[in-house]
């Protein structure tokens, strides 16, 4: 069940809860209570990650003997302070991050979507949208300009919206195991094939 913003505001106000929902900086709670929406707007943070195309043969996902063994070698981190712009050119892909640090309790999950106004300008916000119970940190955003003209974005602007929904679990206190927990900057981690995919990818398969 998706939580309406007045319910989200009530959860955010309950700072003494054992396992609270926290969004920092906290959105305007009165506004949340009154807007009657189904999602909370999040803002763009100050860090961006781009890929160094010229150094990359390919992003070989899940290959242990990949020549490009470290994603860190293939990425460039940029800091864009408040009050300055970041220009996203057509077809450019960049990882951004939310300004807000989010703490999701064990009985909630969330998903990230773009904002229709930005989408109509050609700015696509996120594709991997699930936020698991127990998540803590800033959310990495996958920003792409699918339009034909450059788009200027600035840290602090509203960039995406987060829908929260309750989780039906036998034991909601079991902590989530997201590997993207506890980061303030966009995260690009090396992906590993799971057991079955690894079996399938063996040379003698």
């Amino acid at each position: 069940m998706i939580l309406k913003t007045d319910r989200i505001a009530a959860l955010l106000r309950d700072t003494g809860a054992h396992d609270p929902l926290v969004i920092t900086p906290t959105p305007e709670l009165t506004e949340l209570e009154e807007c009657g929406a189904g999602a909370v707007d999040f803002r763009l943070g100050t860090w961006f990650v781009t890929l160094k195309h010229a150094r990359m043969e390919a992003l070989r996902i899940g290959r242990p003997n990949s020549p490009s063994s470290s994603f860190r070698q293939l990425t460039k981190m940029q800091y864009v302070p408040f009050g300055t712009d970041y220009v996203l050119h057509p077809q450019a892909f960049v990882l951004g991050v939310t300004l807000e640090w989010l703490r999701v309790p064990g009985n909630l999950a969330a998903y990230v979507t773009g904002k229709s106004g930005l989408g109509r300008c050609g700015l696509i916000i996120a594709t991997a949208t699930g936020v698991h119970p127990g998540f803590r940190g800033c959310l990495t955003l996958e920003l792409t300009n699918v339009g034909e003209i450059p788009i200027s974005i600035t840290p602090g602007m509203t960039i995406c919206q987060i829908f929260f929904h309750s989780v039906d679990a036998v034991n909601p206190t079991v902590p989530g195991r997201s590997k993207f927990v506890g980061w303030r900057r966009p995260v690009l981690v090396e992906l590993k094939l799971d057991r079955i995919a690894s079996q399938l990818s063996r040379p003698d398969a």
């Binding site: 920092t24 900086p25 981190m77 408040f82 640090w101 127990g134 803590r136 980061w183």
Partner: protein, 418 residues
């Protein structure tokens, strides 16, 4: 190639490098402003060199070339400093809050719009944090270098407070407050050990009055005073760091220096003395040093120095001891005049509770509260033990969280501007 040709070429090469650096991505304009000042300075120098030719007096040419060369020696390392201030390993979230603190301390009487302090925070390949002092052509710039491996560690921010102290020492003329007292203490110390002084210097002075009447003796006194003043400056910087950051300064200091390398240099107070002074001032200001703090540090010896150096250092130590209360009072009055309060225990607890919950705190009004809360949280043995994905990388997550907290603090400051 003549001396003049090579001098011009060297300055042109420097200017080319300045222009290349100006194309970097600068998170904050202060570094770029510093480059612009250096560019203007060296363009003037180049102009002076270009105005010379073979018809000029060779002594004039040589003098001008020498001046330009000296400037290159001074300013080339600064270009590297500017370059490293743009590196993304730096904790850029710290920049604006620390600049605000520095401005508050250095220009407390100026209205916000008239404040001119600018800050370069860089990550350097020196183990100890340091500052460039007295750069004549960069007035108003505070330049602080943090060791590269620790440059994203906000828990060490208090050490930048120490480095800021060097700028404050000059700007507030703190030296003038202690120099007379130090000189008197040195003369008293030498009078008490008059025979020993005579033995070391072989000056054969007949009476203590000769310490200031004999030119050679006076040179020795001035040497000791120079060491004492430098010791006084370091101690003042420690006190300012302690005043600005409270117990967090003690933790950061110990993190960086304990147990010590064992070697002392005479123009620094010994580590034992520094720690003793910190603990003494902490008590005066109702701060609580960690239990057995002094025991974290070992003793130091003046390795590689003569017995006379040790003697002079002991006299300089006495001079510092004599003016220590003045330094305590100065650091207190400067921070009070700037309206910088000492960390607030209730705020430290409130922020610490949020960090322990795994979230940044809101509505902070002092970076010292945030950094003290972070240190307090590091001492909680069971921090995030119930969160498998965070428990394994506690130090890393805490740094991320504290930097986010500083950014949230900055965000709130910007949003509430009139």
């Amino acid at each position: 190639m003549t001396i003049l040709d090579s001098a011009k070429q060297r300055v042109r090469a420097f200017l080319d490098e300045v222009r290349r650096l100006a194309d970097l991505e600068f998170p904050y304009n202060d570094s770029k402003d510093a480059l612009a000042v250096l560019q203007a300075l060296f363009e003037r120098k180049l102009g002076r060199l270009e105005a010379l030719d073979e018809t000029n007096d060779p002594a004039v040419v040589s003098q001008e070339a020498s001046l330009a060369l000296r400037s290159l020696f001074v300013y080339l390392p600064l270009l590297g400093f500017v370059l490293r201030s743009t590196n993304v390993r730096n904790a850029f979230e710290v920049f604006r809050p620390f600049l605000r603190l520095a401005t508050q301390v250095l220009e407390p009487d100026q209205p916000l719009s008239a404040r001119t302090t600018r800050l370069l925070l860089s990550s350097e390949w020196e183990y100890s944090p340091f500052t460039y002092q007295s750069i004549p052509d960069l007035p108003g710039f505070v330049l602080i270098g943090i060791p590269a491996p620790e440059s994203a560690n906000p828990l060490l921010l208090p050490l930048a407070g120490h480095e800021l102290g060097h700028t404050v020492w000059v700007a507030k003329k703190v030296c003038d407050q202690v120099k007379v007292g130090m000189t008197e203490a040195i003369l008293t110390g030498l009078t008490a050990k008059f025979d020993e002084f005579n033995q070391y210097t072989r000056l054969s002075l007949s009476r203590p009055e000769d310490l200031v009447g004999n030119l050679f003796a006076l040179t020795e006194v001035k040497d000791i005073l120079e060491w004492a003043v430098r010791q006084g400056e370091e101690t003042f910087c420690d006190l300012l760091g302690l005043r600005l950051f409270g117990e967090a300064y003690l933790f950061a200091f110990a993190y960086l220096l304990a147990p010590g390398s064992g070697d002392r240099i005479p123009w620094y107070p010994s580590l034992t003395e520094r720690v003793g002074y910190l603990v003494q001032a902490a008590a005066d200001w109702h701060l609580t040093p960690p239990l057995d703090y002094e025991k974290l540090f070992g003793t130091e010896v003046l390795a590689g120095f003569t017995a006379y150096d040790s003697f002079k250092a002991s006299i300089a130590d006495q001079a510092l001891r004599a003016v220590f209360p003045v330094l305590v009072a100065q650091s207190k009055s400067i921070t009070e005049a700037a309206g910088v309060r000492i960390r607030l225990p209730s705020e430290v607890t409130r922020i610490g509770d949020r960090l322990a919950l795994g979230v940044p705190a809101e509505h902070c009004d002092c970076i010292a509260d945030i950094v003290n809360a972070a240190w307090a949280v590091t001492h909680a043995g069971d921090l995030w033990s119930d969160i498998a994905t965070m428990a394994g990388r506690k130090e890393e997550v805490l740094k991320e969280l504290v930097l986010k907290n500083l950014e949230v603090f900055e965000f709130e400051q910007l949003v509430k501007r009139p």
